[in-house]
């Protein structure tokens, strides 16, 4: 063996064209660069990201900003109506929209498991790029880490986002007033049931896509119409019940909702009956509630009905007399009972 070979290290390492994520993809070397140029840049390209700087540098788009962070670990990665990528973009955008902020700049941190198919990764990245472009969002910063293999299907996403507030309202639980009316933007529970069905390979009759969708458009339309929005909340984990209970607690008011007015798709209702779940606890990813004063209700409904994502909006409840934080549901048979938070993970009942 020649000494120049062993000391010089000149043996060329071929750039591997693996079809799956390798530990080396997270090593900061050639494979990392390859991942960036082959998969991320083509789909996320925008002037700020293309600077290839350590961070994105930009001027504040408004004097008031909203900033949010969210993690995504959904299994399976693909489900009817979306995937972990669309969910991450819409979820981050919706958290900002619920502050009344226009979603603008996002960061995306990918935690990949060794063995993940690169084709799967690219599908997720491509749909993130599409979802972001569709709502005018730029992914301006990101990172990739690779962790050891366990199931070989892992892809986790940590997102953050900045949005611009272009109005002077204080949209928050403490703005809710004693007379306020609760409007729900559409039917509930589709995302939770779609993911559960995909995860458990439950073969429900009839396609049941997730409701995963961006929600800034209806919020912007409400703001533009001059609706006096007191509070907004998207119905994610814990569903409608968690949103109502949290707002009642933070506002220090009592809220009453009428189950008979809450739209639930027949397929979701059937699945919930079968699995022993309560639709008000099942997650949505494209639904929200808005608190408005009674004088604004009709106009707010008209505005929401003009937007496809909230075309089925309706009044489902109101701030009622009662002690601070008290939440009540009127049952289908007309009796009243407490609206509660689910305890931990929703588990199907045996009987």
């Amino acid at each position: 063996m020649g000494s120049s070979d062993s000391l010089g290290g000149s043996c060329p390492v071929p750039l591997m064209r693996s079809e799956q994520v390798l530990a080396a993809h997270g090593g900061g070397g050639k494979l990392t660069a390859d991942l960036l140029t082959r998969i991320f840049r083509p789909h996320f390209s925008n002037p700020l990201l293309d600077q290839e700087h350590d961070g994105a540098v930009f001027s504040a788009p408004a004097s008031r900003l909203a900033f949010t962070a969210d993690g995504y670990v959904v299994q399976p990665l693909f489900f009817p109506g979306g995937n972990i990528g669309t969910l991450a973009i819409h979820g981050t955008a919706n958290d900002l929209a619920m502050c009344g902020a226009r979603p603008m700049y996002f960061s995306a941190c990918f935690v990949l498991e060794e063995g993940l198919s690169l084709q799967v990764l690219e599908q997720v990245v491509e749909s993130m790029g599409q979802a972001a472009r569709a709502i005018g969002v730029q992914i301006v910063a990101g990172d990739t880490k690779v962790v050891e293999r366990s199931h070989g299907t892992g892809l986790h996403l940590a997102m953050s986002g900045i949005g611009a507030i272009e109005h002077s309202l204080a949209i928050e639980p403490s703005s809710v007033r004693g007379e306020d009316v609760v409007i729900l933007s559409g039917d509930i529970g589709r995302h939770g049931i779609a993911v559960l069905a995909a995860r458990q390979q439950l073969d429900f009759q009839g396609a049941l896509p997730s409701d995963c969708a961006p929600l800034y458009a209806p919020v912007a339309a409400l703001l533009e119409a001059g609706i006096e929005i007191h509070c907004l909340r998207d119905l994610t984990r814990g569903g409608l019940a968690a949103a109502i209970v949290e707002i009642a607690g933070k506002a220090g008011l009592a809220i009453e909702i009428d189950e008979r007015l809450i739209p639930v798709a027949p397929a979701v209702r059937g699945a919930c009956e079968l699995l022993g779940l309560d639709p008000v606890h099942v997650a949505c990813e494209g639904r929200f509630i808005v608190f408005v004063p009674p004088s604004n209700v009709e106009q707010a409904l008209a505005v929401l009905h003009s937007q496809s994502v909230s075309a089925d909006a309706r009044v489902i409840g109101r701030v009622a007399a009662g002690s601070a934080g008290q939440t009540t549901r009127i049952t289908p048979v007309g009796s009243r009972r407490m609206l509660d938070l689910p305890t931990g993970e929703q588990l199907p009942r045996i009987c």
């Binding site: 007309g334 009243r336 009972r337 509660d340 588990l347 045996i350 009987c351």
Partner: protein
């Protein structure tokens, strides 16, 4: 939705409630046996529209609540053995055992999987031949035929890596024990419609005669439950004690003979400890010796589980309807749905959890008493 909407019709419910108020002249105490009925009563606020003098007692029919803590510890032990996959129904995951629970066993690295059917566990055993699949079988006569079918299917396919840890329980022997108790206040029974769909109604005849207690075989929707209560009250007011099938759209007098034959082929009655109750003669089911190769209790060396007794918890008296959750010294402090001491605080069907959720004023009282105690 057919078979749901007509049985949740608010106008019918109001008419039934009015009728019940008219025919009730005395303070009657009625036990709904099944946890599914308890759930519906609370979900639809049925207890709020009954005559104020009437008391509903939540019976022992929550299989999650009555599964002995020692069996849960055994299941958790099995799930932590290398190569073992423990499958069970979803709501067993959070139930505390004596020392352990399945959710914690899973967090420690145990392979615990939720299934909707024991047949899913058989499929898993077939597709993962290197794993030992154990199905932790809980439930009453409603879920026992499914377990029997799974065992027969595993036998038919020649699977040697599938077994069952049986916590199956039988309703009638438990009712016998509860009604014999001198402190028992139950005057009428809503029998569980789903169990009767399998067993038929005939089994209740001797019970109704012996304890002079009217029995209404009852369904699970608001209209069904009120219908069952009306039947009981009618009989109590007239002084009769008959078994009447008020769930005829599902229950036939003879039950489901195919399901009964499956159960008889695979299982035999065994004396069994119920959580919170004394050992109940023939209160459970075990696999017959001919199916011993599928019996996890015979297949694995499971150490005996001794239990640390929780002195404050009065789960037994709650399950027997002798005491209400608010009377328990541990209710609300330290026992809560997030830190349950006894099973009735765990399952969404458990009486204590239901009271914790729907009677916040009781929780407030318990917290204040605790503060004073300190």
């Amino acid at each position: 939705m057919k078979y749901l909407d007509e049985f949740r019709d608010a106008a019918i419910v109001q008419r039934q409630a009015a009728l019940l108020h008219r025919i009730t002249t005395r303070p009657w105490t009625i036990m709904e046996i099944c946890g599914g009925q308890t759930h519906a009563i609370l979900r639809f606020g049925i207890d709020e529209i009954l005559p104020p003098s009437m008391t509903l007692i939540h019976g022992p029919g929550c299989p999650v609540c009555v599964t002995p803590a020692s069996l849960i510890d055994q299941a958790a032990f099995l799930s932590n053995l290398p190569g073992v996959v423990l499958c069970t129904y979803g709501d067993m995951l959070r139930v505390p055992g004596g020392k352990d629970d399945l959710q914690s066993a899973k967090a420690r690295g145990g392979d615990v999987r939720m299934v909707y059917s024991p047949l899913d566990a058989v499929e898993l055993a077939q597709w993962e031949p290197d794993c030992e699949v154990v199905f932790f079988a809980v439930g009453f006569e409603t879920t026992i035929p499914g377990t029997a079918l799974a065992i027969l299917r595993a036998k038919h396919r020649g699977l040697r890596n599938f077994s069952v840890l049986s916590a199956h329980v039988r309703v009638l022997p438990a009712l016998q024990v509860i009604l014999q108790e001198p402190a028992c206040r139950v005057q009428g029974l809503l029998a569980a419609g789903h169990v009767c769909t399998v067993t038929g109604c005939g089994e209740y005849e001797p019970l109704a005669r012996e304890f002079k207690i009217p029995v209404a075989v009852t369904g699970f929707e608001p209209v069904d439950i009120l219908d069952g209560i009306i039947e009981c009250v009618r009989q109590l007011e007239q002084g009769t004690a008959q078994v009447v099938n008020r769930y005829a759209r599902s229950v036939r007098a003879a039950g489901n003979p195919v399901a009964q034959a499956l159960v008889h082929e695979v299982f035999e009655p065994v004396d069994m400890e119920w959580r919170g109750l004394p050992e109940i003669p023939e209160g459970g089911f075990k696999l017959r010796n001919t199916f011993q190769e599928f019996d996890a209790a015979a297949k694995f060396a499971i150490p005996g589980m001794t239990l640390a007794k929780v002195s404050e918890c009065i789960a037994g008296a709650i399950l027997q309807g002798i005491k209400k959750p608010g009377e328990c010294p541990a209710f609300g402090h330290p026992c809560t749905p997030l830190n349950p001491l006894g099973a009735p605080m765990v399952s969404s069907e458990g009486a204590c959890a239901a009271y914790y959720r729907y009677r916040p004023q009781l929780v407030e009282i318990a917290t204040q008493e605790h503060r004073r105690g300190e």
